[in-house]
């Protein structure tokens, strides 16, 4: 029997090694995708073959170059105004990605800080912060965006402010629940016995243990933010029309879905890629940060 066990262990070890290699490989894909998209956003002027806003009515609704009837001049075809879809996607990445990253960074930071303070201190401060959170959760972002657009004029900054002003509430809600739970855990009592300040407890003991839900929410928000940007811009609060963003492009192509599906499809595909890659990367970061899973 002894030898049987040895064989099994060796086999299992081999399988584990394979699994580790596979999961490392699987990680490369989303990282490469995101890196390519971010790089192309940064270097858009160098990469894009055409201007993203230049209208060429003679070339309108051309299919992608790899399809029947496609022109080699336009890799991903053209839209209803003859603009090059590929170029617009590259430029669109700038707005879509920077908008989501900026808003997620702001809302995540504010929501986490408020959630930890609320959950850890409890009492009146908690009731106060949570009342704000409830209000923020109940106001539609679109309303704020339109009010701000009237006040500040439509711009990138307007929609960032509009989305951030309310967006922290979802984080605050969840993180507060976690912080309340953690406050009662023995290691927090131990930290107090040792003489740690509240600040230290919140930073060293609460924060590292709320990272999981934080990452989950943040990665879920990526796709949502791209779509919110599109909606807000569509309503006239954001970047004015000729400038491309992925969400806006999906919108533009809606009337041509049957005849020129590529107008909506390719930007939509990019949104999907980013959402999936971020989710995957988020899971990986979460596991990496958790010492209990790090070995796997």
């Amino acid at each position: 029997m002894e030898y049987l066990r040895d064989i099994n262990e060796a086999k299992i070890e081999k399988r584990m090694e394979l699994r580790r290699k596979f999961s490392r490989l699987m990680l490369i894909i989303p990282v490469v995708i995101l890196a390519l998209l971010i790089l192309s956003a940064i270097f858009a002027p160098l990469l894009a073959p055409y201007s993203p806003t230049e209208i060429a009515m003679t070339e309108r609704l051309q299919p992608p170059s790899f399809l029947k009837g496609g022109s080699p001049k336009h890799f991903l075809g053209t839209d209803s105004l003859g603009r090059d879809v590929f170029s617009r996607i590259i430029y669109g990445a700038r707005i879509s990605l920077s908008f989501s990253l900026i808003v997620i960074f702001i809302t995540g930071t504010v929501g986490t800080i408020l959630g930890i303070i609320s959950g850890y201190f409890g009492g009146r401060l908690d009731s106060f912060i949570m009342r704000f959170t409830d209000v923020a959760l109940s106001i539609p972002a679109i309303l704020i965006a339109i009010i701000l657009a009237v006040g500040l004029g439509p711009s990138f900054k307007t929609i960032v402010i509009a989305s951030s002003i309310l967006g922290w509430s979802g984080y605050a809600r969840v993180i507060r629940g976690e912080a309340m739970r953690l406050r009662e855990v023995d290691f927090v009592a131990q930290a107090r016995i040792i003489g740690s300040s509240r600040m230290r407890i919140m930073i060293k003991h609460i924060f590292p243990n709320v990272i999981n839900p934080l990452i989950i929410i943040a990665t879920m928000m990526v796709g949502l933010m791209i779509i919110i940007e599109a909606t807000l811009s569509y309503l006239g609060a954001g970047i004015p029309p000729p400038n491309p963003s992925w969400g806006a492009m999906v919108n533009d192509g809606r009337n041509y879905l049957e005849t020129a599906w590529w107008i909506s499809f390719f930007p939509g595909f990019c949104i999907g890629l980013v959402v999936l890659s971020c989710n995957y990367l988020g899971d990986w970061i979460r596991d990496k940060l958790d010492p209990r899973l790090r070995r796997l």
Binding site: V185, D186, F187, A189, Q190, A191, R192, I193, I194, G195, S196, S197, R200, K204, H205, P208, N209, L289, D290, P291, R292
Partner: protein, 325 residues
């Protein structure tokens, strides 16, 4: 004159109890009711009692995790409840440390052992990283762990090893008193003795005082110099360990000793019956009148349900029972 390190004087802890939709106040739980005790330097006092007796709450008032509603704690003769935040941080907190019952929840799972054990140093003593690390290694050695364990995370250890880490952390600041809340009850029976021996050795080496909380009388007898038996928030019997085990006075103490495996059946006298406590412990929200134990006491008399007995000194220890008034 005994060298008293810490004294609890008339500690009382009331908790509000709220119920229902509007969280109306329906009463106050007397979790700890007028409890006084003292701990000598280098000695161990054990608090013993059933679940809900108020042992942990007493410990919390000593550790200042919660302040007692009334009464006070004296440390080296000074009333620490009068200290301000700054004095507490400088003069009290570092000298009174604790090991908690559950070694699985008493450590931040995201910190390495070296950071866990060094945390008291980082918070209190401003030293270099190197000095802290050297101290961590020294502490790990004292509790029977190796230097390389410092780099690991808590989940990589067994319960017994974790409890050793917890002990190392509690000793980091060279405290005078360590509160041990059921230090071995979460561990396998086979390793309890190891940890108890370790604690005893460390006590001798560093002249530590312990405030031990325990259910198990065998643990208590082995570890402590003094024992306080608690029932429903009150101390009902209090004295030196040997004296109290040899000559238990309170019916509740008798019942506890009888129910424990300290006495084997064949050691009992012919006419000595095993005393079995009947019924549940009453709710502390609504404690019985008179002597709190009378509802379960095999020797209850009529006055027991009416008049609360005073604490009286009998021989070398104190007891709160009408039999001795």
């Amino acid at each position: 004159m005994a060298d008293i390190l810490l004294e609890g004087r008339n500690l009382t802890m009331l908790y509000p109890v709220r119920r229902g939709l509007f969280q109306g106040l329906i009463g106050m739980v007397r979790a700890v009711d007028n409890v006084s005790f003292s701990i000598e330097r280098g000695k161990t006092l054990s608090l013993v009692g059933e679940s809900g007796a108020g042992k942990t709450t007493t410990a919390k008032s000593v550790l200042l995790l919660e302040r007692a509603t009334s009464g006070s704690v004296y440390f080296e003769g000074k009333d620490i409840y009068q200290y301000n935040k700054d004095q507490l941080k400088r003069e009290y907190r570092p000298r009174v440390q604790a090991v908690q019952q559950n070694p699985w929840s008493s450590m931040n799972p995201r910190m390495r052992v070296k950071d866990i054990v060094a945390e008291p140093l980082v918070v209190n003593a401003k030293q270099s990283k190197k000095e802290n690390y050297d101290r961590v290694v020294e502490l790990l050695d004292q509790v029977g762990l190796k230097a390389e364990h410092a780099e690991h995370f808590p989940h990589e250890f067994s319960g017994g090893q974790r409890q050793r880490i917890a002990v190392a952390r509690a000793l980091a600041l060279n405290p005078s008193l360590v509160v041990l809340d059921e230090p071995v009850s979460a561990l396998d029976v086979s390793i309890r003795a190891q940890i108890m021996n370790l604690l005893k050795d460390l006590q001798e080496a560093h002249n530590l005082s312990y405030l031990v909380i325990a259910h198990n009388l065998a643990t208590v007898r082995y570890m402590s110099h003094g024992v306080a038996i608690m029932y429903l928030g009150q101390i009902v019997e209090y004295g030196d360990t040997e004296d109290l085990f040899e000559n238990p006075l309170h019916p509740y103490t008798n019942a506890l000793i009888s129910a424990s495996d300290l006495k084997l059946p064949e050691d009992r006298d012919q006419n000595e019956k095993e005393i079995i406590l009947s019924g549940e412990m009453p709710s502390p929200l609504n404690p019985p009148t008179g002597c709190r134990f009378h509802t379960r006491c095999p020797e209850a008399r009529p006055e027991c349900s009416k008049i609360e007995p005073e604490m009286v000194t009998v021989g070398k220890h104190q007891v709160k029972c009408h039999k001795f008034v």
